[in-house]
C-alpha cells in the first residue's frame, strides 16, 4: 500500500494504491493521522482517491470510520473519489457514503 499526497488551497488529496486489508490498514491509519499532527495543516477537506486500490475488505470500512471520527473533530470533511466498481460495491453495501460522500 502506498499513499501519494497532493493539495490545493483548501483540500488535500491522498491517492491510495495497492491492497487495503488488515495487514496494510495500519500504515494507512498512521499516514493519514500524521496529517493532523502537522501544525501547518489548515485544509478543510481530505479527498481519498481509491482509483488504484485493487483490493479491499471490511478493514477498509473500519479504517474510514475511524478517520471520519478523528478528522470531523477538527472540522475536516472526508470524501471518497474514483473507487473501482468492485470497491464501490463494498462502499454501497456498507452504507459508508451516508457519512463519507463520494465526489467526482
Amino acid at each position: 500500500m502506498e499513499i501519494k499526497y497532493t493539495g490545493d488551497n483548501d483540500c488535500i488529496y491522498a491517492e491510495l494504491s495497492g491492497e487495503l486489508d488488515e495487514c496494510s490498514a495500519e500504515y494507512v491509519r498512521i499516514s493519514l493521522d500524521d496529517l493532523l499532527k502537522n501544525e501547518s495543516f489548515s485544509k478543510s477537506k481530505l479527498v481519498l482517491d481509491f482509483s488504484k486500490v485493487s483490493f479491499m475488505d471490511s478493514t477498509g470500512i473500519g479504517m474510514l470510520l475511524g478517520r471520519y471520527n478523528k478528522f470531523s473533530k477538527q472540522d475536516i470533511s472526508i470524501y471518497i473519489k474514483n473507487p473501482t466498481s468492485y470497491v464501490n460495491r463494498i462502499f454501497e453495501m456498507t452504507g459508508i457514503y451516508q457519512i463519507i460522500p463520494k465526489v467526482c
Binding site: 486489508d21 483490493f55 468492485y86 456498507t94
Partner: protein, 145 residues
C-alpha cells in the same frame, strides 16, 4: 462431499498471510473461468474469514489456520478453520456492524460481506479445537463465469 479437485493448507495466523490465503484460493479457482467480479467476491470473503481468525479467534497472538478448498462442478467450497477463542453467540456476531472491538476500528461488517458475496455461509464452533471452541467458516460460491 467428494470434490473434483481439492487442497488443504495450514498457515500461521499472521496478518501478512491474508494476501497469501485469498490469492491462493483465487488462483485455485481460475480453472472454472470465473469473472473478475466472482474472483473479487471470493478474495474478499476469504480475507474476511482469515482476518476474523487472526484478529478475533487468536486475538493477534498467533495460532494455526487451516484452509480447505474444494471444487465440485462449478461450485467452490471453502472452509477456514481455527482453534481460537470461538464465538459464543454466532447469531449475534453475524449481524451487520456487530463488533467486540469497537476501540480498534473494526467495522463489524465481515460476516455481512461474506454472506453477501458467497452463495452459502455457515458459521459453527470447531469442537475438535484444542483450546476454546474454535471456529469453522464454511462458504460456497457458484461460478457462472
Amino acid at each position: 462431499m467428494a470434490f473434483d479437485n481439492y487442497f488443504k493448507l495450514e498457515f500461521e495466523a499472521k496478518k501478512v498471510n491474508e494476501s497469501f490465503a485469498r490469492n491462493t484460493v483465487a488462483m485455485f479457482c481460475t480453472v472454472l473461468k470465473p469473472t473478475l467480479s466472482e474472483i473479487n467476491d471470493i478474495k474478499t470473503a476469504v480475507s474476511e474469514a482469515v482476518t476474523n481468525s487472526i484478529v478475533h479467534g487468536y486475538e493477534d497472538k498467533g495460532g494455526k489456520i487451516v484452509l480447505e478448498v474444494g471444487i465440485e462442478n462449478n461450485v467452490v467450497d471453502i472452509k477456514v478453520i481455527d482453534n481460537g477463542i470461538g464465538i459464543s453467540d454466532i447469531d449475534m456476531a453475524i449481524q451487520p456492524f456487530f463488533t467486540t472491538k469497537t476501540e480498534e476500528e473494526h467495522s463489524g461488517m465481515g460476516f455481512t460481506l461474506m454472506d453477501s458475496f458467497m452463495n452459502t455461509l455457515e458459521v459453527k464452533s470447531n469442537d475438535s479445537g484444542e483450546k476454546g471452541s474454535g471456529l469453522i467458516v464454511h462458504m460456497q460460491k457458484v461460478i457462472r463465469g
